[in-house]
């Protein structure tokens, strides 16, 4: 979706302000927001892409005003409500008013958390078909504006780039955010800055995105 999260090329946000010796967390509530998000996610009721979609679905004014963990927390509340693990009333009062819903996976234990952190959840899958594009091939990123989740940033849509790497078939975020499983090929596609930004672009700059196959259409090779 064309939400506030799609920031590449936006202007007016001011300088980057790195913080010296920045700690992992700035407050205890941030620690708990991160941990709750991961532990609740482990119940298996939503995918990482549904989680991202919940964050980017926040009103742009809220999204841009919030700290990152506030965005996570607001999205977590929304997911718990949408998946019917909690009722809005329970969230407002902080008191359980009905029994817990059955979840796809059991509650994460301390040992389970250690395993989850150590192993992760790989996103590579067996491909359903051969890769449509080869390294070195010219491709155009589609012009598309889906209302749902997508990982094709606006600044790359309609632009012509070159396939540089093939990463195998991966979970397709656009489908995964709808609760569907659909492995597709994943590529690194590189664009010269001039193609993305036009006149005045840094002539020494190349920008790449990770592009899922459904985002791309073929172009004839330069003859």
């Amino acid at each position: 979706m064309n939400g506030a999260q799609d920031l590449g090329g936006a202007m007016g946000f001011g300088p980057v302000r790195p913080e010296k010796a920045e700690p992992a967390f700035h407050a205890r509530w941030e620690e708990r927001a991160l941990a709750l998000t991961l532990a609740a996610g482990a119940l298996g009721e939503w995918s990482i892409d549904e989680g991202r979609y919940a964050r980017e679905s926040l009103h742009p004014a809220l999204y841009l005003n919030a700290s990152y963990y506030e965005i996570w927390l607001r999205a977590l509340e929304k997911l718990l409500r949408d998946k019917k693990l909690l009722e809005g009333k329970e969230l407002e009062t902080g008191r359980a008013s009905r029994p817990a819903a059955k979840t796809r996976r059991p509650k994460l234990t301390a040992d389970g958390a250690r395993r989850l952190m150590a192993k992760g959840t790989p996103y590579r899958r067996e491909p359903c078909a051969p890769a449509r594009f080869a390294v070195g091939g010219r491709v155009r990123a589609k012009v598309m504006n889906p209302h749902g989740h997508t990982r094709l940033p606006r600044y790359a849509r309609g632009k012509v780039g070159v396939v540089e790497r093939i990463h195998g078939a991966h979970v397709f975020p656009d489908a995964s955010a709808r609760g569907q499983s659909e492995p597709v090929w994943l590529y690194t596609v590189a664009f010269p800055a001039r193609e993305l930004w036009g006149e005045g672009a840094d002539p020494t700059l190349t920008v790449s995105i990770e592009a899922f196959e459904p985002y791309l259409e073929p172009l004839p090779s330069k003859g």
Partner: protein, 211 residues
């Protein structure tokens, strides 16, 4: 947060009165009461990212690549497997790709759409990495972003920005600094900053690291 000395990227008071401190407390209590989460699992997650996983992991990988040409080759060919050789991997780093700086090419990592970052090698991303100024500008004016970090590259150095729009997670293998010949892997690792592995910084030269 009112108590935080850091710039505004931590967030301003919410326009709808939302109070994250109170909300997260209430939410944890509720999720524990309903049996959805175990507070001990939450503690493990916090402990992992507060203390066990961080840029010191990535620095070890870089130092080894600087001293062991075979390892460097394996790291650039398959970052996930090479990181696993040193015991690093897992959540947020299931598919690691390492890209190498050269005197003619400088790499920079960003996630314009959210905050994708190689957790097992660098830990949780810093606030600036997740914030609009970096996410908006890295892909359009990376040299200006580098100046915010005090880094000026020669005009002849090409810049390559990698936007992490999938579960592939990127790490920059920085240039080994001059004057670091003969140093142990451990000393070399101390020259490798988080910023150097994102591409917003360079590895420290030994004199400066000692200062």
């Amino acid at each position: 947060m009112a108590s935080c000395p850091c710039p505004t990227e931590h967030g301003r008071p919410a326009i709808d009165g939302y109070d994250p401190v109170a909300r997260v407390k209430a939410l944890e209590q509720l999720l524990v009461e309903k049996g959805y989460v175990d507070p001990l699992a939450l503690d493990v997650i916090v402990e992992t990212y507060a203390h066990e996983v961080g840029p010191m992991n990535g620095a070890k990988v870089v130092a080894k690549a600087w001293t062991d040409a075979d390892y460097r080759g394996r790291l650039l060919a398959n970052g996930t497997e090479a990181a696993a050789e040193l015991g690093f991997g897992g959540r947020g780093g299931e598919h690691i790709v390492v890209v190498e700086n050269t005197p003619r090419l400088h790499n920079l990592i960003v996630c314009t759409l959210c905050s994708c970052y190689p957790w097992p090698l660098l830990g949780l991303p810093p606030v600036w990495y997740k914030s609009p100024p970096y996410r908006s500008r890295a892909v359009i004016e990376p040299r200006a972003v580098l100046r915010d970090f005090g880094v000026t590259l020669p005009e002849t150095t090409a810049i390559r920005v990698w936007d992490s729009t999938a579960e592939t997670r990127y790490l920059v293998l920085p240039l080994r600094p001059e004057g670091s010949e003969g140093l142990s892997e451990e000393r070399l690792a101390s020259l490798v900053t988080r910023e150097a592995m994102i591409g917003t910084g360079l590895a420290l030269v030994p004199a400066r690291a000692a200062a």
